[in-house]
Symmetry: C2
Subunit: 221 residues, 2 copies
DNA sequence: TTTTATTTTTAGACACCCCTAACTTTATTT
DNA sequence: AAATAAAGTTAGGGGTGTCTAAAAATAAAA
């Protein structure tokens, strides 16, 4: 049984491992859980004692099988609750993170499965992130940043790399949504900005900053 | 902003005041929040410092207006979540308490209202308890224990005094539910047990213990 | 290879929430 | 009124989770 705080740390480590593959460093964790390095070190000792991570001072940490199981369960709950908040309660996709951050810690042996069923066993959350299944399995998303798409190629938007309210609202304002077909019209060499079309209609000019945070799946056309 | 623990204490005090009217004593609180008297005293000091209760050592406590507002908000959330768990997720009425005990602490300026709307603005929770409205108003339930109903009188079951799984399952087993019409057929003077009919059909013999925990509203017939 | 900068850990502290044991106050008996 | 019982508080302490400041280890630069 883990505390909320322990769960938050495990989830943070899991996310960092997903992205970097490497052992995770203290400051990165501190940034994700909004604490200081010293607090992270304290927690790493506790999680290590509980065999949830493997930890060698100064050398970073990684999750044990046990720790990963816990982390994935938290991620599963977080994403399922996000689906609930958006699809059932009518929240916008930029409003749900903080609430899900709390709901993910609700402890019950039956709640997650009932919620999953109630929601119709969704595969992805409102941000396009995959929802781990009951057993903790989660397939790797085949997606790349839009910034990497060659000129003239079509793709479907499947996710976002930046989950901030600011970015999500920016996308809303420009009517760019998950599932939209995006075509790269023209790339400017100078600043790597690009002209794109959304659903074959609207043409928009976006910066490289934005293009890096839009994740797409190349359509085999 | 209160901690989970503070909210639990405030809710406990609120419940005790509802039932007794009097200043609430330390041991009663300890029993409700599953702690010891010493812990209660510690917390009373903190809540008093925060002006959430008025507290005089050895003389019991009562809620300030501020404290009552917080307590009722927690109760509102608890009961709304219980409705969600039963009506949307398919839980039984004896299974939801512990989960609602956690969900009631989810902090969000918008969640409660969205949930309330989603559920269709329910008036009562799965146990017949009234749900405070958005402004914190909660009307007094006009109900009495079935044990107090005179022989030959009809009433409608509106609630339970005992929320334990054991009792709720007992009622399920005997198909006694909220909204059922209950008529007192015969009372045994010796042990105050009684013969009742449920929905004009089934006749059941129940102990006084049980009759005290079934709450009914007399039907004006 | 030194020196300097960055990262990480340790030391010491504090708020929170709970506990047991001992003491004090209040209530009840005799 | 004195003795006893019950209820409530204080003293002292433990685990958790966070912090700042200082020290140690590692990485980068000169
Ligand atoms: Mn969280
Ligand atoms: Mn998400
Ligand atoms: Mn609670
Ligand atoms: Mn209830």
């Amino acid at each position: 049984m883990q505390t909320h705080s322990e769960e938050n740390y495990l989830k943070a480590i899991w996310k960092l491992v997903e992205h970097s593959g490497e052992n995770v460093n203290t400051n990165a964790i501190a940034a994700l859980v909004h604490t200081r390095a010293a607090s992270v070190t304290d927690m790493m000792k506790k999680l290590s004692d509980k065999k949830l991570i493997s930890y060698q001072p100064y050398k970073g940490v990684s999750l044990t099988a046990k720790g990963e199981r816990v982390a994935i369960e938290v991620v599963r709950k977080h994403r399922l609750w996000e689906v609930f908040l958006v699809e059932q309660l009518g929240y916008k996709w930029d409003e749900v993170h903080d609430i899900a951050e709390q709901l993910e810690h609700i402890r019950s042996s039956t709640l997650t499965e009932k919620l999953d069923k109630f929601l119709g066993f969704p595969k992805v959350d409102p941000h396009g992130d995959l929802i781990p299944d009951k057993s903790g399995k989660i397939s790797k998303q085949q997606q790349i940043p839009l910034a990497q798409l060659e000129s003239g190629n079509k793709a479907i938007m499947t996710g976002v790399a930046d989950h901030s309210t600011l970015f999500l609202r920016f996308l809303d304002k420009h009517k760019i949504h998950l599932g939209d077909t995006i075509e790269t019209k023209e790339k400017t060499t100078y600043d790597s900005s690009m002209e794109i079309s959304v659903n074959r209609k609207k043409n928009i000019h976006i910066s490289n900053e934005v293009a890096k945070n839009i994740l797409v799946r190349k359509s085999r056309s």
